[in-house]
């Protein structure tokens, strides 16, 4: 018996009698895979960056050099002289919490989506499908991820195109961009406490009624997605999306306006 066969025989003895167990739940694997996909989208746009500055009124869609945010007294009051460390992002993934979040997202998105698309249920409490008049669909999912006080650098040109800065009235700041292949559009934002949230729309899911055919719909435009995320009802619901990637102690300290 040669060396290769000897080692293989040894491995077989190690596995001998080992219960192969039943098959995994494919739906659970798909949910886990979907979450990973949305995290990768976020990671693509969040490497390192400077400290989040105080935000002002909604000033999305302006150029990098032209951004001079107005001072927002409400967000300033939340932080100035009060907290010495940022609060943690939501992490409750219990059924009750996710069902409540799902209902909030459903209501908020339904109220503010463009008229030519219809929202239907997706594979996850924070994942939906957008159906067009021609029957084509895309998958719209909430983004969550690691808490990061530094916010996100510009994803373009390495990870996307059409990058636009996005600022919300609550001080959250981030980027909207189209994927390099044009098949997905994403808005990722960080609150002043470093919580990541946002929305991503693309053809990453399977065509309804099929297992192996990719969706054929065109995603919302960058402007449409920015307009959607900028709705107070929508971003309030998105900020409720829990993350299972919580840093033990976020580095740095929150900005003091």
């Amino acid at each position: 018996m040669n060396e290769e066969m000897e080692v293989r025989a040894l491995f077989e003895r190690v596995l001998d009698g080992e219960d192969d167990g039943g098959m995994p739940e494919v739906a659970a694997l798909k949910r886990q895979g979907g979450r990973l996909m949305r995290r990768w989208v976020l990671r693509a746009a969040s490497v390192t960056a400077g400290v989040v500055v105080a935000a002002g009124c909604v000033t999305y869609g302006i150029g990098r050099t032209g951004m001079h945010p107005a001072h927002d007294s409400s967000s300033a009051q939340e932080l100035a002289g009060v907290a010495s460390s940022p609060s943690k992002p939501p992490t409750d993934m219990s059924k009750g919490a996710t069902e409540k979040l799902h209902a909030q997202l459903l209501e908020a998105l339904n109220a503010h989506l463009p008229k030519d698309v219809r929202l239907i249920e997706g594979s996850d409490p924070t994942v939906f499908r957008l159906k067009r008049a021609d029957g084509s669909t895309t998958t719209l999912g909430a983004v969550s991820g690691l808490q990061k006080l530094g916010g996100a650098p510009e994803p373009c040109p390495k990870y996307g195109t059409d990058c636009q800065k996005v600022m919300l009235p609550d001080g959250s700041r981030g980027w909207a961009w189209k994927g390099l292949d044009g098949r997905d559009v994403t808005v990722t934002l960080y609150t002043l406490n470093g919580q990541a949230f946002g929305l991503s729309d693309g053809d990453s899911g399977s065509k309804p009624g099929t297992q192996n055919e990719r969706e054929t719909g065109a995603p919302l435009t960058v402007q449409q997605l920015i307009a959607l995320v900028s709705q107070p009802q929508v971003y309030a619901a998105l900020k409720g999306a829990p993350t299972d990637e919580v840093t033990p102690e976020p580095a740095g300290s929150p900005h003091r306006p």
Partner: protein
């Protein structure tokens, strides 16, 4: 690539590879599920079953190495193998074999599993482990030597 069919056809083999790497049934299951979830997230970029299989194996091994690095403080290498009386061969023999495998450094263990269980070439193993082929060759020799020495004492190899 039909994900569901792929899971059904590859689950057992992937889990066995994972078990040889980690030596623990539950961790092997977690590892396999994680590799398959990562594969699902990238499924549109994988054109064939073959490409999916290669991706799954690569992800499985790299994820395991990543977990090992994160958990390195909690795992204590086994220096002394459990002794087995000649008449107790059977279940106990598996324990000795598992312990001998676990006593190997993680990359040597991965090299042996990929080369002799997955039947991968030196070059394929090197690509998966992000090492040079020469390093894989020397890891193979060192791993085999250690395994032999550990099992010789137990008269298994």
């Amino acid at each position: 690539m039909d994900f569901e069919l792929f899971v059904r056809s590859e689950w057992v083999q992937l889990k066995r590879t994972a078990f040889l790497l980690c030596g623990d049934r539950h961790t092997a299951e977690d590892l396999t599920q994680t590799a398959l979830a990562k594969l699902y997230a990238r499924r549109w970029t994988l054109r064939s079953e073959e490409a999916a299989g290669a991706f799954a194996r690569t992800t499985l091994v790299r994820t395991w190495i990543d977990w090992q690095r994160k958990r390195s403080a909690s795992e204590v290498p086994v220096e002394e193998l459990p002794s087995v009386a000649a008449e107790e061969y059977g279940v106990e023999q598996r324990v000795v074999l598992q312990a001998a495998l676990r006593a190997l450094p993680e990359t040597q263990r991965a090299v042996l599993v990929l080369r002799f269980w997955e039947d991968l070439s030196v070059e394929e193993t090197a690509r998966i482990l992000r090492r040079r082929p020469a390093t894989v060759r020397s890891d193979t020799l060192r791993g085999l030597e250690k395994l032999r020495a550990a099992l010789k004492r137990q008269e298994v190899f």
